[in-house]
């Protein structure tokens, strides 16, 4: 699979990007650069536009203004197939079309890498099985996806992205539905991927997962205001309290801040 070789350093960047949220005034453009090896966490209250931002970064939705660049090439100049070899997305909600098994679902991730007439080969099958193994769902490979629990489906979706094997991984609340052990396992997997040269960019609702695992943070306020930077500069109680409109207590666990909502 020569198609999987990629240059060691890559970046997805935005220039003056304004995402298109109906009813929101313009302003607060984003100038992000998401590089190899980075783990980004996007935090913000409901409706701040986290999912819209992910869809915009993945090229599924046009921005209201600004542009996206993949290694300094505007993404609008890239073919959708070429883009999907570089950028992959785990959606927050998924629809079941026709019944499909777990293994078939993971194999879908090979689509951007195969020519139209090409069947999935032994390599592709091995990749899909490795991904399912990594997400601890290989034992379910012959089950229909529709019969799985929410957390199992979430892990199959992440395994599908892993099978797609893009450089930049976009994930919309990847720890949704996961039990504590699998939350940690998924965050560990993602940071391992970043250490291996991928770029990770995910929306999270859990401040403490973000504090423990992300090295960069983007805060999205309900009015469209944003700020971003290294995690230790972003994860300060004042900013987070304003972000969620919620008083927080902070303690330190294993050298990382731990945030707990105060009782109202």
């Amino acid at each position: 699979m020569s198609g999987n070789k990629r240059p060691p350093m890559q970046a997805l960047s935005t220039r003056e990007l304004v995402i298109d949220i109906p009813g929101r005034a313009d302003g607060y453009p984003l100038d992000l650069t998401i590089k190899s090896g980075q783990v980004w966490g996007v935090l913000g209250p409901n409706g701040a536009g986290k999912t819209t931002l992910l869809h915009t970064l993945a090229g599924l939705r046009a921005p209201r203004a600004g542009a996206l660049f993949l290694n300094d090439v505007p993404t609008t100049k890239l073919k959708r197939r070429a883009l999907s070899q570089q950028l992959g997305l785990v959606f927050q909600d998924r629809q079941d079309g026709f019944p499909a098994t777990v293994l078939e679902t993971a194999l879908i991730g090979r689509h951007p890498w195969l020519a139209p007439w090409q069947m999935e080969g032994a390599d592709d099958l091995a990749m899909a099985e490795r991904s399912l193994e990594a997400l601890d769902v290989l034992h379910l490979k012959n089950r229909l996806v529709s019969t799985l629990s929410g957390g199992e489906r979430q892990r199959v979706a992440i395994a599908t992205l892993m099978t797609q094997s893009p450089h930049t991984w976009l994930l919309d609340e990847p720890t949704n539905h996961l039990d504590l052990h699998h939350q940690v396992a998924v965050m560990k997997l993602l940071t391992d991927r970043a250490a291996a040269g991928n770029a990770i960019f995910m929306c999270l609702h859990d401040l403490n997962l973000a504090a423990r695992w992300c090295d960069h943070i983007l805060l999205m306020y309900p009015n469209g205001e944003t700020c971003w930077g290294p995690a230790e500069r972003m994860l300060v109680p004042d900013a987070l309290e304003r972000l969620y409109n919620q008083q927080l207590a902070t303690v330190e666990v294993d050298g990382a801040p731990f945030f707990v909502p105060k009782r109202v």
């Binding site: 070429a82 026709f98 951007p112 139209p116 999935e120």
Partner: protein, 323 residues
């Protein structure tokens, strides 16, 4: 998509051949399968040659082409609308074709004009739904489906009106056409040609269709240009259906039931399902047409009655046992 593809297709192809040999052998003069083979080898009696080449084979091939066209069109529509209940007629195409055909009959015109008029009606119906579903807002499968269903209801009313005002002597021919009937189909080659052509075009698209079945957003994230693919499927499915309707009227249930039965047995890989639909749909209609010729021989039933009588219980059974 990890199952072998050649074996099921080979089995279906053999079944299709057997059905066709049986079909050309059965009739007022029975011809044994061995004699049928002799005729195809260039031997056999003159009577047998005439019966087979001039009467029975064109009809059998027409039935095969019609069944294959409808089954492939149904499978495509189900993927396009991501709705297992979609069939080739769900978007009102057969209604347009029927109005075209009945108009030609009312005008007292014959065979070729009826076919041409039906094809024109089918194309008109397709363009109408295409244009209306496009509308001014966003395009979604549910919007296309609703537009199609409402337009189909409109055609239904027009058909009823035409039947109500038609002279009594025209009614049997009209009803036969509406029920679907291959007895007048004498030119199987255009239908077979369209079937082979469209299959050759959509089988390489099979994996893209598999991805599209997971929803448009997921498909786009995996590198598919969703809108052009959807329109291509719509146009191809319409072309298939229009060709089938022009050959044999609106024959029901083949396009709904055949893809479902195959999905239950063979899974959901469109690269296998689409060619399998062509073979199984063709075989089913050849068998149904053979039955239609022999059940009350020398009288003939419209083949649409047989497919509906077979299709309704099969479909209800599948629905009943589906999870």
């Amino acid at each position: 998509m990890i199952r072998p593809i050649t074996l099921p297709l080979a089995v279906l192809a053999v079944a299709g051949l057997i059905a066709m040999v049986m079909s050309v052998g059965i009739g007022s003069v029975a011809i044994a399968p061995a004699d049928v083979l002799l005729v195809f080898l260039g031997e056999g009696s003159n009577l047998h040659r005439t019966l087979i080449f001039e009467l029975r084979l064109p009809r059998t091939l027409s039935a095969f082409a019609t069944g294959g066209l409808l089954a492939v069109a149904g499978a495509l529509m189900q993927v396009l609308l991501r709705n297992p209940l979609a069939d080739p007629y769900v978007l009102g195409l057969s209604g347009g074709a029927a109005v075209g055909a009945l108009l030609a009959m009312l005008a007292g015109l014959g065979g070729a004009v009826i076919s041409g008029s039906a094809f024109a009606g089918a194309m008109l119906a397709t363009l109408m739904v295409f244009g209306l579903a496009h509308g001014t807002g966003s395009w979604t499968p549910s919007r296309l489906l609703l537009t199609g269903v409402v337009v189909a209801a409109g055609w239904g009313a027009v058909i009823t009106l035409m039947l109500a005002i038609s002279p009594a002597r025209e009614l049997p021919g009209m009803l036969y056409w509406l029920m679907g009937d291959v007895s007048y189909a004498r030119a199987p080659w255009p239908g077979l040609g369209v079937l082979v052509l469209v299959c050759a075009l959509v089988v390489p698209l099979g994996r893209s269709l598999n991805v599209l079945a997971r929803g448009p957003m997921q498909a786009a994230a995996l590198g598919i240009s969703v809108r052009p693919l959807e329109w291509l499927i719509y146009i191809l499915a319409s072309l298939l259906t229009a060709t089938a309707v022009t050959m044999a009227g609106s024959i029901g249930f083949v396009g709904l039931v055949v893809p479902h039965m195959l999905r239950l047995v063979l899974g959901n890989d469109q690269r296998l399902i689409l060619p399998a639909c062509a073979l199984a749909g063709g075989t089913l209609l050849v068998l149904a047409d053979t039955l239609a010729r022999v059940v009350i021989a020398p009288e003939q039933l419209p083949v649409g009655v047989i497919t509906a009588l077979l299709g309704v219980p099969t479909f209800l059974y599948l629905l009943y046992r589906s999870r």
